[in-house]
Amino acid sequence: MSDQPISNEEETIEYETRHLDSACLNESHLKHPWWYNLKYLLVGLLFGVIFVKAEIISWFRIQEMFRMESFHMYGVIGSAVAVGILSVFLIKKFNIKTIYGEEVEFKAKTFNKGHIIGGFMFGLGWAMTGACPGPLFAQIGTGATVIAVTLFSAIAGTWIYGYFREKLPH
């Protein structure tokens, strides 16, 4: 590694990182002006409305889920997954292209120990805050301004993970 130029090393790191952390990375190879991103703001807005209207961002609903006292959240996540599986199957089967004519790309995830350790840690935090990352943004939007502290702490947690990443088991 040491005798390779830096750019290559960075590329390798980026590749390894993407491999470990394949969620959420942009697969489109097209370059668009920034305002093309406004359509994602609209999709996010729709998501925010569903979050509040179905009480998914409610701390109480999350407690009921983890205490097995209500079917609501299981119904939400279960039916979302069912629709997701069907949609992905149809996109693959009929080779449906994006609105820009690109092939839709799917990435396989490689298992690592972080899925277990990190997943468990996130579960603890989810039950404490009553929110996964998406609902944190929606909760702030509904006027619970103190949740900005929780969000900031989550960003700090992400940063600390990045700092110690090489020392953690994967």
Partner: protein
Amino acid sequence: MNWLFQPWPWYIAGPLIGLIVPLLLLIGNKTFGISSSLRHMCAACLPANIPFFKYDWKKEAWNLFFVGGILVGGFLTVLLIPNKGAVDVTPALAKDLATYGITDYSGLVPAQLFTWSTLLSVKGLLLMVGGGFLVGFGTRYAGGCTSGHAISGLSNLQLPSLIATCCFMAGGFLMANFILPIILSL
């Protein structure tokens, strides 16, 4: 139009959320996921020469627009089509919460736990600062959150995502049933 002001049932909300997966794929080849936005914020604001944050975050800016939209969506819903009345809490949960003095269900976020005035109590610090830290550290270590693993990952039948989702649930069960009662009694 009455339904607009009532809480939506799971069989409306769940399928709509599921449709976000193909929607994002088809309008720009984007994989549904939210916790990465926290990483992009680190990369944008304080990369500090850490390899994990040295990448072209601007290429992923769509994700920041997406979470910005979620915030605006929450704001507009409360403004225009709020859920009428308090959260309908299951009797068993209500009974347990009452023993810790939590009786106000008027907000989706319990006002007796999550406010600026409780932030500096031991309970408040643990729940908001400690809980937030676990959410940020845990999701990145796991490589995704409920959206990236439980919804997108499972939609693409990824075994690592199933393992991660089971661990989310295990952590949540342990916290909600065994550790949270101790925190709430502090």
